[in-house]
């Protein structure tokens, strides 16, 4: 029920409150500033989506096996759908910084394995080693790459896997 007795006073107060609203909007639409990465750090992004090798080879069906199948499904080769998980290891300056086994996607485990990982590193020169294994039937890692790199502050280094060329890439 309380109202300002004079209209000018009410208008001035309204103006001040509108200004306060504007100040609040202006302030929190840009302040405080946020820095995602400390200034002396660089970011290594390990990211790939890669289908591992099949867990078993295709086999030739015998005539007896083929005969048991409906006529429209008598494919001579039988290939298992399941793929190998993809293992990846990243070492920085000789120390392991990431170890992961990416399981194949899909209910039948026949899809691609996916990895995305942010790894922070201080800016400067580093020895980076990456190893990748995509075949459950092989011993050891199937692919590896190491390099000495100089990371600038704020730099993003992407580690990917080029399936066509069959190599780990540093971008």
């Amino acid at each position: 029920m309380a109202m300002f007795a004079s209209k000018p006073l009410a208008w001035i107060s309204q103006g001040l409150l509108y200004a306060l609203f504007a100040l609040g909007i202006a302030t929190f639409s840009s302040w405080p500033k946020y820095q995602n990465l400390p200034p002396d750090q660089a970011l290594i992004k390990l990211s790939f989506t890669h289908s591992g090798k099949r867990v078993a080879d295709c086999t030739q069906r015998t005539p007896a096996e083929l005969a048991k199948l409906p006529p429209n499904m008598r494919a001579p080769m039988q290939c298992p759908r399941e793929r190998s998980p993809v293992s990846v290891e990243v070492d920085l300056d000789g120390a392991p910084i990431f170890r992961h086994v990416a399981e194949p996607s899909g209910l039948s485990r026949d899809g691609a394995s996916t990895v995305y990982q942010r790894l922070q590193a201080s800016a400067g020169e580093h020895r980076l080693a990456v190893r990748l294994k995509d075949n459950a039937r092989s011993a050891g890692f199937d692919y590896s790459r190491s390099a000495t790199l100089t990371l600038k502050p704020g730099q993003v280094l992407v580690i990917d896997f080029d399936a066509e060329k069959g190599e780990i890439t540093f971008i």
Partner: protein
């Protein structure tokens, strides 16, 4: 009282205090804290209109988006630049008033019973609002957009729902394709369209929804945003460069606070937090409620007394009344029908009913539509009884409501007080009836303007008493003997002061002139003896 109820009550106390502080300069009707939903609509339309222009000039390619917006900001600052800033600031304002709107409705307990539908349809709108808002930052494709897009992609990928992770779209500059940008534009336009659709649902169960604030408030809010757009124009950061992480960023915390939260905790934590908040909001109407929020008996229609005038249909704030053919079979005649799920049990329909006049001669006053817990007939009887018991030089009848400041304490030797379900339940003829029955003045109170617990009760009452709405108070009634004093709960002292002031005014007026006689209801009814003794009524 349980702890959640205590927290809600405490919060409501603080919120009401804040509203009252703002009532002083703005007036209750124009108080922004009482018009949050309507302000949300205003800000949304500012965003939509400015967005149409921005879309018209936006180059929707990944390489051209930044350039086109930067051109707009610097070369066409007087139009495009201002509209861009308005677009951003109105979006910020939209999220602020929307969140406050949710808080207000929660504090007032407006999420259960007949309001459940509006509450439940409002919850997903919060998600739409955030998706719409965050998506807008990406389109500019500057360092801020880059940061937000990457952070959002990382957050979404944590659910492993995409065959190809979203983050791979933002790994390198070459990975960001024009096709992806078209998709981002589609999201930024499509989700707001969903938001409009959702808003339409949200207000379906209320009639005369406040989808635009009162004009002075709308002008004030728009002028504020415009002034802000001119004083602090929104500018782009450096162009996006995915080969490096952006340095310190002027983050829009209204929308982008989720990103720092994610990096400070984990994507899973943010998902868990938002999912828990959403589930809690959804479940809130179904949780055990405090007694004061329990369902009340709904309005009842008495076909023999309903002439199908549609006033209750027009006045119901929740569209809870429909009209059906009258069972008496008279051609064209209609009958009001209450929709139980929508009825707020406010009694505003009873106040609008032309048959709810105490001057009717029927011994038992039955109205076309009435509230079982407080029938109009019982109100007339109580008024007659209390009028008869009044003593003193300035006898006052107070009609208050259960939702506003408590008027019970005003009752005394010279004051008869009635607390209705809502002041909107008061048929204006009761004011005349009280004056003719011996009262020297009638004070009507209820929630402050724009603060009616049932949305329109105080507005309809005021309009009816001013003769601007049916059923209206007859012009022959001396307006000097009527006082309207809106007061919220907790303002009992102010109400007391208003009554004291009114009594002084009444005393100065002296005794009322001999008024028209109050008709004797009928021969079967016992005449109200005290009214007869008072001398204003010819029996």
């Amino acid at each position: 009282m349980s702890l959640p109820d205590a927290i809600r009550s405490g919060g409501l106390l603080v919120y009401r205090r804040l509203e009252h502080i703002f009532d002083a300069p703005f007036g209750a009707a124009l108080n922004p804290w009482r018009n949050l939903g309507a302000l949300g609509f205003l800000f949304f339309w500012i965003v939509a209109v400015s967005g149409v222009y921005l879309f018209a000039v936006l180059d929707t390619s990944s390489s051209g988006a930044y350039r086109s917006i930067d051109w707009l900001t610097h070369e066409q600052w007087y139009l495009g630049g201002v509209l861009r800033s308005l677009h951003r600031y109105a979006a910020d304002g939209f999220i602020v008033v929307t969140l406050l709107h949710v808080l207000r409705e929660f504090l007032f307990g407006r999420y259960t019973g007949f309001r459940r539908f509006s509450w439940l349809t409002g919850v997903p709108l919060l998600w739409f609002a955030y998706v719409s808002g965050i998506g807008g930052f990406w389109l500019n494709w500057d360092r801020l957009g880059q940061f937000s897009a990457v952070a959002t992609a990382e957050w979404l990928d944590s659910l492993s729902i995409f065959a190809t992770p979203m983050t791979r779209n933002f790994l390198t500059n070459a990975a960001v394709s024009d096709r992806l940008f078209s998709l981002l534009v589609f999201i930024h336009i499509g989700v707001p369209l969903l938001l409009i659709f959702g808003l339409w649902f949200h207000i379906q169960r209320i009639s005369r929804a406040a989808v635009f604030p009162p004009r002075p408030l709308a002008l004030g809010a728009f002028a504020t945003l415009l002034a802000l757009a001119l004083a602090a124009p929104v500018v782009s950061q450096a162009p996006a460069d995915l080969a490096s992480v952006p340095g310190p960023l002027p983050l829009d915390w209204f929308y982008l606070f989720l990103h720092p939260l994610m990096y400070a905790t984990s994507p899973g934590s943010v998902w868990a937090l938002l999912a828990a908040a959403s589930v809690l909001l959804f479940l809130l109407p179904f949780l055990p409620q405090p007694r004061q929020l329990a369902a009340q008996p709904i309005a009842q229609v008495h076909p023999d007394n309903c002439n199908g005038c549609r006033r209750c249909f027009d006045d119901c704030p929740y569209a809870a009344i429909g009209m059906i053919p009258h069972p008496n079979g008279k051609p064209g005649m209609q009958l009001a029908q209450v929709i139980p799920d929508l009825c707020a049990s406010c009694g505003i329909c009873a106040g609008s009913c032309p048959s709810a006049t105490p001057f009717r001669s029927a011994g038992e006053l039955v109205t076309g539509i009435d509230m079982p817990q407080l029938p109009i007939g019982a109100l007339r009887q109580a008024l007659e009884d209390k009028l008869a018991a009044l003593r003193g030089d300035s006898k006052i009848v107070v009609f208050g409501c259960d939702q506003g400041a408590r008027s019970d304490a005003l009752a005394g030797q010279e004051v008869a007080s009635f607390s209705l379900i809502c002041t909107g339940m008061l048929p204006p003829s009761f004011v005349e009836y009280a004056l003719r029955g011996g009262a020297d003045g009638v004070l009507v109170t209820g929630c402050r303007a724009a603060g009616c617990a049932f949305r329109l009760g105080n507005r309809w009452t005021e309009e009816r008493l001013l003769g601007a709405r049916e059923p209206h108070l007859r012009t022959s009634v001396d307006r000097q003997r009527i006082c309207i004093a809106w007061a919220d709960p907790g303002e009992e002292q102010e109400l007391h002061a208003a009554l004291a002031n009114f009594r002084s005014r009444i005393a100065a007026l002296g005794a009322p002139a001999a008024s028209s006689p109050m008709p004797l209801p009928d021969s079967t009814r016992t005449p109200p003896k005290r009214i007869a003794a008072h001398g204003h009524v010819r029996l």
